[in-house]
Symmetry: C2
Subunit: 417 residues, 2 copies
């Protein structure tokens, strides 16, 4: 029976996975260096391919913001290459012994890190994901099958070709990195069902993409990225600190998943806090969507918030605001509207800090710090493939360790039961 | 909109999950003690309920082996209660700090263990699973929704009722343990799609059940238990040791997933080893299915092996046998027919031992020891919910830690990016 294009990619990856899994750290690092060099040396090819995508974008009346996401210029290509070089400096994770112990019968058991195998990545328009994802997976010993968006196909094809050449130049099989050549919805659906060949599927993109993958995939999925993050300003909060944390979470980079989307304010400090917060956020022209109490303090310049506002991941200079009567109400609100990503309390109360961290169900729960720190780099992981908002396998920023599984190695001298 | 029975169970579990998640270790242990006591005190009720199932089994001409799986007598009930008491002695896992570190900006980050939330268990005829699974999940802070087989419904209903009473008697919500009251295929299908309420689904049973769940579930699944385990007798093997390891793997308890199903023998030692192995296995009337080379050594008493034999998980006194020319052929055979569970090499060669452990892709890879040790108890985990044969989240025996997720707690004093 003839294999479909997607099945063929799966079979190719499966065939070379053992070679990559047992490749030495040095060989993998040589491949990374070759990729970084090739990206720099062949930058003009990349920009030429990118021009095709950009021309299509203009023709299709893509928004300026989306066009900017697509763009690859020399600076951006250099940044991508630098990220690859940074991976070389990270400690090898494959073969790491997480635990080792001896049983009473003398069996020696080691729990060691092994690659997951073959990872599928479904992503949208940013072509830098192509290189970031492929090289991070490779460093952890995994083959990748990349399925990028139609808008960036020409760029992705060029970048993948360059990586495959570089990998082959150091003696590793090119098929450890493959791009799906078909950007139809059907190819994406096929990839989601490729459980025979794929060990895990990681969607990177907006909530729509992630939900579609989670609903339809038979391959195990790691959900990443949707973040409706809250800051709760408790009655004992240092209000100046709270203003900084809200402002940083909202305005430092509004388009990312760890940006703040809603602020909950204890009624006891609302009168004092809201004008301070508004003054700061006005510097960035943040539009506020508030409940009636907020509007009665700040006035009609605050838009009236509805259910949708509290559920929204704006990813923009917009912020939902609500006054609450207690930490209980804040925790209940977050349980109802949150996406289990990053949540923050600003407080001086030890009891409330501990309670918030215990009861709020999220990957990262902050006391007196910006939610913007939920990030592999900021956590010191050196790199990240995304931020998991599910509980299985990985939660929070996923670095190299989260791209591996374990294998128990047991050595004996004839033990039987 | 009215909830279906399954959705109602999901909503009930979700409602009480936070209470259980923040219950103290002492309270959870009190609940376990109350369950163990109640099982002993109400043994006659349990046996009466079990009689209903057994009477149905006889009426439906169920096999003796299956009837034996169903049976609950005083000894078995005592064993179940003892397993519950053993959980009390295990260290608390919820709240455990896996890692803690400080970032250059002073942020203190702790990676702590939290419950997964709500776990669905789909299982077949053994009613002891009802108690084992519910109590292990509870110890790790998780609510369970149990969906047992129709054959054991009366027993499961009684056992679940007793556990719910016991849990309530110490002040925890009874709904942390719930049984699906509908044993139709439809209820099982609904449970597989209950992603709104369920955090993970663990099927416990035969390959048919596990594959059906993995294919149909939208809830994340942990695959457990299918084991086509091999022993490879290398040319340098201590042959007496190899006989013991094969015999133990095959005959000590043939019905379990870590039992040996196939033996691969290096050609250089086949002539000497096969008669030794056969003499030992004859004591247990093990039927051998061999390739032509094996049959030419041992004679016609060995059945002719076909593809199905090499792929079979016999779970019986049957064994597939094949002579191979090299460790390469052995590793390739295991890659083709194995189920990534437990694999063993018997060898004196350091090189071959290391190569086998590196290249064989399985949860547990043994050198010179029986595959029967792949077990939470034997690994020293104190208890296990099953043996994962997948790579995501957990691999190998799953104890309390594998029934938890992580949560990052980050404490600062106003840090922003």
């Amino acid at each position: 029976m003839e294999l479909t294009h997607i099945e063929q990619l799966g079979a190719n990856a499966k065939a070379v996975a053992p070679t990559l899994a047992s490749a030495s750290p040095m060989l993998k690092n040589s491949a990374l260096a070759a990729i970084a060099d090739a990206l720099t040396n062949r930058a003009s090819e990349i920009m030429e391919a990118n021009q095709t995508d950009l021309a299509n974008a203009v023709e299709n009346h893509m928004s300026q913001a989306m066009q900017d996401r697509l763009l690859l210029n020399e600076t951006r290509i250099k940044d991508i290459a630098d990220s690859v070089r940074k991976l070389i400096t990270l400690d090898e994770v494959v073969g790491k012994v997480d635990e080792g112990f001896v049983r009473p019968n003398g069996l020696q058991i080691r729990k060691t890190r092994v690659p997951l195998g073959v990872i599928g990545i479904i992503f949208e328009s940013r072509p830098n994901v192509t290189v970031d994802a492929a090289t991070l997976c490779m460093k952890a010993g995994n083959c990748v099958i990349l399925r990028g968006g139609k808008e960036a196909f020409s760029s992705n094809l060029c970048l993948t070709g360059i990586m495959r050449d570089a990998v082959a130049s150091v003696g590793l099989p090119a098929d450890i990195i493959q791009l799906v050549q078909d950007t139809s919805r059907e190819s994406s659906n096929q990839l989601m069902k490729l459980s025979r060949y794929l060990d895990v599927l990681i969607p990177r993109g907006g909530a729509g993409l992630i939900n579609a993958v989670a609903e339809n995939a038979t391959v195990p999925v790691i959900r990443t990225g949707t973040g409706n993050c809250h800051v709760f300003v408790d009655e004992s909060a240092d209000l100046a600190m709270a203003v900084n944390i809200v402002n940083n979470g909202k305005t430092q980079r509004p388009s990312v998943c760890n940006a703040v989307e809603s602020v909950l304010i204890h009624r006891a400090v609302a009168q004092q806090f809201l004008p301070m917060m508004k003054a700061k956020l006005d510097e960035h022209q943040v539009a506020l969507h508030g409940d009636d109490d907020t509007r009665s303090i700040l006035g009609e310049c605050v838009l009236s918030a509805n259910e949708d506002d509290y559920a929204a991941e704006y990813l923009d200079y917009q912020l939902a605001v609500k006054i609450v009567d207690s930490i209980d109400e804040a925790i209940a609100h977050i349980a109802r509207y949150g996406t289990n990503h990053s949540e923050c309390i600003v407080t001086k109360s030890l009891e409330n800090a501990e309670r918030f961290q215990r009861e709020v169900d999220a990957a990262a729960v902050y006391v007196n710090a910006s939610t913007r720190f939920t990030d592999g780099g900021e956590f010191g992981f050196g790199a990240e493939i995304g931020i998991s908002t599910q509980k299985l396998h990985a939660r929070g920023p996923m670095g190299l360790a989260e791209l591996t599984s374990v294998k128990y190695l047991i050595n004996g001298d004839g033990q039987i039961r």
